[in-house]
Subunit: 163 residues, 2 copies
């Protein structure tokens, strides 16, 4: 059994956390700029992004995923529906439920805003060998899982405080 | 001269952009959870993060970096100063200027919120060989630069629209 991870971090590991943090700030800034250029609130746009990734979900699920209250989510969905970013429709598997269907890719302006980023990221990916890119992809999956666990942790901590 | 990047993206490259997007959403969600658990608005917390990365800057620079209007930034700094996240002080290099000094690391609760993420990221970094981590670090710097260019592009596009 290895206890390596309890050793003091190496310089390379510290550089790694700094770079992750730098990438994180830029990601948040980029999302804010995208939201602003589409005339949306930040939370609204994030919800569009979450919907796009998770596919049709209920308002309750969206509330849980974004950490927004049910009331905020209802107002948010009203705004997004009005602007043509989502559609409310009955769940085909359970007609008593209403699900939110993202109309994301239909929005030309969203596509236009993301296209240059997508092209630049493909170009970045193309600068690596297949073997290197496999490592990077594996790393990105791992890093996502770390963040997901941390989101759950904070969610639970907030749940404990508010009950 | 290679024109590889104009080829249709490979499956590995498409996976890469999807994973980057997934990591991006989780980053934004995590930041929102952190902001919520500290009782801050999202923009406010982002500003704290930007200040921490860039070090002391003027309100004008913060406005440019966050894409917020000067008026919004003034109100934001008032809130952050009141909560002990930043301090306004005269620029030692130019006493006519006021700079914003982050008091970030002094806030025990911010540290407590980030500590588990930092530990989990160090643990993730430790799961890679030195050579692999060097590649990942190089990749993170490149990806940050791509995002920075995209933020500039959107900023400029908004500038053109509003004049």
């Amino acid at each position: 059994m290895s206890s390596d991870w309890q050793d003091p971090p190496t310089e390379l590991q510290e550089t790694f956390t700094l770079r992750m943090r730098g990438l994180g700030s830029r990601t948040v800034l980029f999302q804010q700029q995208v939201a602003a250029s589409l005339g949306l609130y930040n939370n609204d746009f994030l919800a569009v992004d979450v919907l796009h990734e998770k596919g049709p979900i209920t308002a309750g699920e969206l509330s849980k995923l974004t950490g927004l209250t049910t009331g905020s989510v209802t107002a948010l969905i009203d705004r997004l529906e009005k602007n043509g970013f989502v559609r409310r429709q009955p769940d085909p598997n359970d007609r008593r439920k209403v699900i939110l269907v993202p109309l994301y890719e239909n929005k030309q302006e969203v596509g236009d805003t993301y296209m240059p980023l997508h092209a630049a990221m493909i170009q970045l990916a193309a600068s690596y060998s297949e073997e290197e890119l496999m490592l990077i992809n594996q790393f990105l999956a791992q890093a996502s899982m770390v963040l997901e666990n941390q989101i759950d942790r904070l969610n639970q901590a907030r749940g404990r405080t508010s009950t």
